[in-house]
Structures are given as C-alpha cells and as structure tokens.
C-alpha cells in the first residue's frame, strides 16, 4: 500500500470515528430522515380527508324561513344552521362567522323572476373558511342553475343552448402524478436532507477542529491539504447519503399507511425509483458537503460557521419552489446542481421516462463544481491567511 493511500485511509477512518461518536451531530443528521416520512404521511392523510369527506359546516342563516328548498339543498350538502352546532364546534364556527342572508322578498322575487341577492358574509382571508365558502357558493350556484333550467324547459327551450361548447378533458397524467403533493414534499425533503444531514459533521470537522486547536497540529503534518479536505468530504457526504437511504426506506414504508386510492392516486418507491434517486442525489450530497466545508473552514469560530452554513440550507428549499413559479425554464437550469436534480426528480415522480442525458450532465456538472470547491479549499488551507487566523 502506498504511503499516499494509507495516509488518506487513516484520515478517513479518523473522520468516521469522530463523526459517529458525536451523538448530537448524528441525531441532527438522522432526525430529519426519520421525521420527514412521518410528516409526509400525516399531511397526506389530512389532505385526503379534506378532499374526500364533506365535514359539517355551520353557518348563520338569516331569513332561512323564506327559502325552504334552498335550505334543503344546504342541508343535503351538510351545511347546517349555526344554532344546531354544539359545544366546541359552536364556538369555532361562531368565530369563523360565515353569514348567509336570504331576503324577505325571496318568494315574491322568485315568482316575478327578479334577481335575488343572497348575501354571503365571511372573512375570505381566513384559510379554514375557504373550503366552506366554496361549498356554500357551489350549493347556491347549483340551486340557481336548476331553477334556471326548469324555467327554460317550461318555455320549451332546450337547455343545451346554454352550453354551446363542451370541453372533453383528457388527462395524460399518470396515476402517480395525482400524488403530486406527496412527491413534491418528498423531493424537497430529499434535497433538504442531502444538505442538512452532513451539516453538523462538516462544521464540527472544520470550524470545530480549528476552535479545539487541532487544525494547526494537522496542518503541520507531512500530508497535503487536499487529502485533509478529501477525508472530511468523504465523511460528510457519507453521512448525508446514509441519511437519504434511511429517509427513502422509511418513506416507502410509511406511504403504505396512506390510502391514496381514495383520491385515485398511486405512489410507491420501487427498487428502480430508489436506485435512480440515490444515483441522482449522490452528487448532491458531495456538492453539499464541499460547499459546507468550504464556508465552514473559512469561519473564525464554530458559531460563525453555524450561522453562515445554515444559510446554505436555504438553497435546496428555495430552488424547487422557484422552479414552480418559473413557467418557461431556460435550458441551462437542467444542468446546474439542485435545479437539475429537482427537475429530474419531478419527472421521476410523475412517472415520465427519465432523461438519462440530463441526469448525466447535471451529475457531471455537480461533481465538477464540488471538485472545484475542494481544490479551492485545499489551496486556501495552504495560504498564510488561514494559518494566521489559527491563533
């Protein structure tokens, strides 16, 4: 075994020993990979419940007695008068204050064919009120349309004249893309996981070592700074990768507890998806590690490193969200780190065929950028500025 390799091996082994004995850092690394799948499961369960069920809505009705048929339609849609609510739900719905006012002249106007104003008074900025408001509006609109149709039929007019055009919708989405919410969250969590899991280790092995006065000792040894950086990067990326494997495994199990068929969707992580995701995210783990080490090594203290590097986590969270708002994506976005992977992940979750060329290019670009960071850092560690900052 050559000296160069055995040195690198010793460096790597030491980094792993230290990282795996740092319980606090490991907990941070793996807590996310364990919590994320649970969160995905809970959130999708709630979402499905909202989509499938029609929970009771209580609204304050004024003049209910003037429009009994409309009231029946409301009741059929599980929208009930506030007076029927009991206990906690009465307080909740009273606070939400959805108020529907039916005019006294309802019956008379109906006979005369006048337009009747039904007042819907609510706080449209209150998020929990949005679904109830939508349902109230739907009931009123359907009721009104039914009356309108009857009037036309009575006059011998075919109601089809109201629908000169008909849309025939053909949804090309694969069944799995209906689970968009889950896959989007998972994609975001995976990218965040890649960036966050190695964070504590990266900071501890760079700024932490500087603060504990072991960096100077190491820099005085007959080894190249490149080896030092490579050893630390290997350890940081390995921890990120491990965390991602854990996250995917737990997610594939936990998604089994969500009954997606209720919303006509399927979602599962099969061996193929699993492998592609790992191949896709390995370069990201390396890139994240390189980026974190690059900044953490330049910080003067552990604290400074923490605040600088924590900002880097915004990157993976920000990029996929920005991509959603970008309708016409420029082509180069496919290639740059994080954005490229995010786009391929989206296709993968939608069940579209994978663009292997794009995957290769984005991986190569990501690795190349990581290599540049590593070389830059190795050079920086040789500089006098870094040495002077030691004491």
């Amino acid at each position: 075994m050559s000296l160069g390799f055995s040195q690198l091996k010793a460096l790597v082994i030491k980094e792993f020993k230290e990282a795996f004995r740092d319980k606090r850092a490991l907990m941070t690394a793996f807590s996310m990979s364990l919590l994320a799948p649970v969160m995905i499961m809970v959130m999708s369960k709630t979402m499905i419940k909202e989509m499938v069920e029609k929970p009771t809505v209580y609204a304050e009705f004024v003049g209910a007695e003037y429009a009994p048929k409309l009231m029946k339609d409301f009741r059929d849609d599980n929208i009930l008068p506030l007076s029927e609510a009991e206990g906690d739900s009465h307080a909740i719905w009273e606070k939400r204050g959805i108020k529907i006012t039916i005019p006294e002249t309802y019956a008379e106007d109906m006979v005369n064919g006048n337009i009747i104003n039904i007042v819907l008074n609510a706080d449209y900025s209150d998020k929990p009120s949005l679904a109830p408001i939508r349902r109230v509006k739907d009931v009123i609109r359907d009721h009104a349309r039914a009356i309108g149709y009857k009037r036309l039929i009575m006059r011998g007019v075919d109601v089809r004249i109201l629908r000169p055009l008909n849309i025939v919708e053909q949804d090309r989405a694969q069944p799995s893309s209906n689970a968009m919410m889950i896959s989007m969250m998972l994609g975001l969590y995976l990218l965040m996981g890649a960036f966050m899991s190695g964070l504590a280790t990266a900071i501890d092995s760079s700024a932490g070592e500087r603060e504990r006065n072991v960096l100077e000792m190491l820099l005085c040894q007959p080894i190249s700074t490149l080896k030092v950086v490579l050893a630390k990067l290997t350890c940081t990326s390995a921890i990120s990768m491990l965390s991602i494997v854990l996250m995917l495994t737990v997610t594939s199990i936990s998604v089994g507890f969500v009954d997606l068929t209720k919303i006509g969707a399927t979602f599962s992580i099969d061996a193929f998806t699993f492998t592609v995701l790992l191949v896709l995210l390995l370069p990201i783990c390396i890139f994240a590690g390189a980026l974190q080490l690059f900044f953490a090594f330049q910080a003067k203290s552990f604290k400074e490193a923490q605040s600088t590097v924590t900002m880097l986590i915004m990157l993976p969270a920000f990029v996929p969200i920005a991509l959603i708002f970008l309708d016409n994506r420029p082509l180069w976005l496919d290639w740059i780190p994080v954005a490229g992977q995010s786009i391929i992940m989206e296709d993968l979750f939608k069940g579209l065929p994978i663009d292997w060329a794009a995957l290769a290019v984005t991986s190569v670009v990501t690795i190349a950028m990581s290599a540049a960071l590593v070389m830059g850092l190795a050079k920086k560690l040789k500089s006098e500025k870094v040495v002077m900052a030691l004491s």
Partner: protein, 245 residues
C-alpha cells in the same frame, strides 16, 4: 539539524516579524529559543513547519528546505505546537495511531512504535480512555506521544511546559534528555528561565525578529556580566520591551 539563515518576514505593510534571524540547532543538543512576546519565535517556528513562507532566507531541516518542500521537511520533524488540542472523541491510543499512520507507519511496526512510546511516557493506563476530560499533564503526554511516535530526528517544542505541574514537567524534561542522548536535535521555546538554564545546551535569544545573542547559558551570563540567566536575558534583549509588547 535545524538551520535558519537570514529569515525575513513582514506581515502587512510594516509589521516586521522576522528581520534576518539566523541560528542553528545541532543534533545531540537541546537548543533553547528565548525571546519576549512578539519577538518572532512562533513566526520562526511556523516557517520551519512550512506553514508560513519567509520573504527571504532559508529554513532547512536535515538539509531539506521547509519553504520549497514543506511536506518532506515536516516528515523529519516532531512537532509540539504552541496550542495543542486533542481529538476529544478519540482515545489516546487512537490519536497516537492516527499520527503514526500519517507519518507512514503501518502494521506491526506501527503497533510496536505506539507501545514503545506509551511505555516511555508511562501512559499505558491512559491509552484506551477518551481524551475528553484529560488533565493538562495527561494532554501534554498525548501530544508528546503523537509528536514522537515516528521517532523524528528533529523535535520542535513551542512552550511545552506552559500550565504543567512539577511532575509533568519532570517527565517531559527526562524524556527530552533521553532523546538528546540518542542524538536527536531538539529545539525548545520557553519563557521559564530556570528551565532553559537547566535543560538547554545552547540558548538562542531572539528580539525584534533577529538574533540578539547565542551561546551556552553560562556564556550568556558572562556576556551580560550577570549571574542569573534572567538578568542576562533582560540585558541582552536591550530593553524591558517584553513587558510592554
């Protein structure tokens, strides 16, 4: 043998840390390097480690230039740095093993070297404990062991006795004396005059980035016309700037 010739080093525009410093530390001798704070000792030692590049002049370790070939020069050195920290999540043995591997030891040869240095420093009972919570003396032993496990020909210590109790200081002194007897070259920086007087064969006094005087402790006392090395030191550096700096 460590040789420093006409070293110049300026930081920024006008902070002259080294101003033509020259001295030689011979094999089989303990050379003490004395100087007030800010005299350029640490800068000089960091140049020897190849961490800093001198503006001009040469620093060689067994004939290898620390400026041109720092990695080869460091391989000839055992370093006890100014600030020594430990990897607190490793045991003492693992830490010594780590530095032995960096210096290219492996297999049974490495194991033997580690056992030897542990026995020499009487630290077998510490070996398999994590270094977190070690006392200053125990820390010194670990640092010393990791610096010497590869049996370097040349050994540089930057204020090694700082914060040590009498027992630990004696262990260190005994150990250095043994190394000297084996023909190693030892360069030793300190602020404790009695220690320098007792231990060093030759003393190099540095002030304002250059050599102020050199010789055996007795020679320096004679040169300054004083009986105590401390008085001689103050006289030789030419001022009491050490207090101010």
């Amino acid at each position: 043998m460590i040789k420093v010739e006409n070293l110049h080093k300026t930081f920024g525009k006008d902070v002259k840390a080294l101003n033509g410093l020259s001295f030689t530390a011979n094999d089989g001798e303990i050379t003490g390097i004395l100087g007030p704070n800010g005299a350029g000792k640490t800068t000089c030692l960091r140049t020897l480690y190849g961490l800093l590049k001198a503006d001009s002049g040469v620093a060689t370790i067994d004939g290898i230039s620390a400026v041109d070939n720092p990695i080869a020069a460091r391989a000839q050195l055992g370093i006890f740095p100014d600030k020594f920290g430990l990897y607190e999540r490793l045991t003492a043995y693992e830490q010594i093993d780590y530095f032995a591997s960096i210096h290219g030891l492996s297999g049974s040869h490495k194991k033997q070297a580690i056992e030897e240095v542990l026995a020499d420093l009487e630290m077998e009972d510490l070996a398999h404990r994590k270094t977190q919570g070690f006392s200053q003396g125990q820390r010194m032993k670990v640092t010393l062991a990791q610096a010497l496990v590869h049996k370097p020909k040349n050994f540089v210590l930057d204020e090694p006795t700082r914060g040590l109790d009498v027992m630990s200081t004696r262990i260190l002194r005994d150990y250095l004396a043994r190394f000297k007897a084996q023909g190693h070259c030892i360069l030793f920086s300190s602020h404790v005059m009695q220690e320098v007087a007792a231990l060093c064969d030759r003393v190099v006094i540095v002030a304002n980035g250059k050599l102020a005087a050199q010789g055996t402790p007795e020679e320096l006392c004679q040169l300054a016309g004083e009986s105590q090395l401390e008085e001689a030191f103050v006289k030789l550096i030419g001022s009491d700037e050490g207090v101010a700096a």
